[in-house]
Symmetry: C2
């Protein structure tokens, strides 16, 4: 049987030149980072549990991708540049085919972002993947949830709702054609962290507040409103739905774009005076963005349709503790 | 039912002035650290799983202590000063009595070391505790496993074997009196990370190589030997056994001190010329140390008794993946 030591050596330790700001990687009591002088380190940690964040029997390559992607998405939402990550992994058994797929999916995305695996832990136990990711940014440039200001535009990257539609297809909540399921599924299983966009928005900085949409836009935008002590009006019909969702009826489109979950797009606010700069940053990051509402001083979130009429949608955010 | 948000607010978010080098704590997409100029950040991550690293029904206060202690022990072994940590927690249910005990045990130890909880994750799932800890040190001062040199003394902090004895008592592997069990149990459930000693040894630096003994001395010392391409002679009868173990027979004392596990003492090497400095560092850290062997150039680990005669002990280290 594969020992813990062999498992790490075979699947997770790579013999190649590391980043200059990684002083020491896998194999000692600690890893060592040497941050560039004057930079801040952004840190985020996400734990993925079988049957809660992914299905039992999920494809290991896609799971390796997703486990890192949701963490990189947090760095993106802060405007931080990825440096490195740790991986703690509980596995019911040392399944080599699983480890091979998982590590390939993980490293494919890590390499895309120059993000180095520097340490972690492996143990036997119910499948659990805990990644802690490290990024860097300049002090004062972090895109904070508490930074939205009345008059700011609200922007969304990419499209919303296809991840939730894929889940609805799996659950048979919605009848999907095989083509629609195939189109929506990658958004659920292999989300794209919007790292380049986050960096471009934080560089000047252009944006005020930002977060990544993981539990549904309405709930997540609520965190920005609460932290910033502001309110907002959101044009639900302006929300950019995914291509698979576009073929569904209006009620479902509204529900899944506004409160789907697992989107891993950025929601950010920026002053009206920065509209051109936002569009330029989006072009530079090759990431489409859509303006979907306005921050104002009146507490609460008002949902409106394309004609500016109030919508009374019953939308609940996803709570990883209560739900499911 | 307690939501994820309420749970974090009630048990883990504290309203008090944070450390000046923590730019941002719990509540945004990322936490932010602002390391002092020129310092390195030491990072370690440990995952604790029920029935593997602790018993089902383990006292939550002690579990909170231990989950952080094993991580602080890694910082100690590197000679790093604790700054902060993240906590990712999967819980089968939001049990408030459990959360109250766990968070109190966690923060009691964290406060002792000025180590701030800056973020993490909570989710429903089989009980799993994943902590990632951050410390700081001066470049070139880290106590690396690869730094042992022929001629170095081998030192051990504190005492060994009582944690393993407590486990043997629980398993009925050894018949223990209630007094012996009560004396040994804290070493298993509430280990003391040797942070002050690690800092003192790294300050000059006095020590060459170091690690913390988590899987049994013989196995862990083997990591230093392999990383440093050296060998060693270890005087098994010089190993400082714990007070509960002292009343057991010689064979058990040898086995549990040399290859017990869960000791969380430091094993370090230092040149003979530094003996007085090691003892002074130990006194300064109020941590006893014992000299137990010598590093040499001959590959392999030779176990000897008090008379220098070779012992042929069959000792296996603990592998968190294969064992159990």
């Amino acid at each position: 049987m594969l020992s813990e030591f062999d498992l790490i050596k075979r699947y997770f330790k790579r013999e190649r030149p590391g980043r200059p700001d990684v002083g020491l990687g896998i194999g000692d009591d600690c890893a060592l980072l040497s941050p560039a002088p004057g930079r801040q380190i952004a840190i985020s940690s996400d734990m993925l549990v079988e049957d809660r964040h992914f299905f039992a029997g999920a494809d290991p390559f896609m799971l390796g991708h997703k486990a890192l992607a949701v963490n990189l998405s947090d760095l993106a939402a802060m405007g931080a540049r990825p440096i490195a990550f740790t991986l703690a992994l509980a596995l019911p058994r040392a399944d080599e085919a699983w480890l091979d797929g998982f590590s390939r999916g993980l490293f494919a995305l890590a390499d895309e972002h120059g993000c180095e695996l520097i340490g972690g832990d492996t143990t036997k136990g119910p499948l659990n993947i805990c990644i802690t990711v490290f990024g860097e940014l300049s002090p004062g440039h972090a895109l904070r949830r508490a930074a939205a200001k009345p008059g700011d535009d609200i922007w969304i990257s990419g499209t919303l709702g296809d991840a939730r539609l894929a889940l609805a297809g799996c659950w048979k909540e919605v009848e999907l054609t095989p083509e629609a399921q195939a189109q929506a599924a990658p958004r659920l299983h292999m989300p794209t962290p919007r790292v380049a966009l986050g960096l471009a928005l934080a560089a000047v900085p252009i944006a005020h507040a930002a977060l990544d949409i993981s539990d549904g836009l309405v709930g997540d935008l609520g965190h920005i409103l609460a932290a910033s002590s502001v309110g907002a009006t959101l044009d639900v019909d302006a929300l950019p739905g995914g291509p698979a969702l576009a073929r569904q009826d209006l009620a479902l489109r509204r529900r899944f774009t506004a409160a789907g979950g697992d989107d891993y797009e950025l929601c950010f606010t920026a002053p009206m005076s920065q509209r051109a700069a936002v569009l330029e940053a989006a072009a530079q990051a090759s990431t489409p963005v859509t303006r979907v509402g306005t921050i104002d001083a009146v507490p609460g979130l008002r949902l409106v349709n394309a004609h500016g009429e109030r919508l009374d949608l019953s939308l609940a955010g996803w709570d990883h503790f209560v739900a499911g």
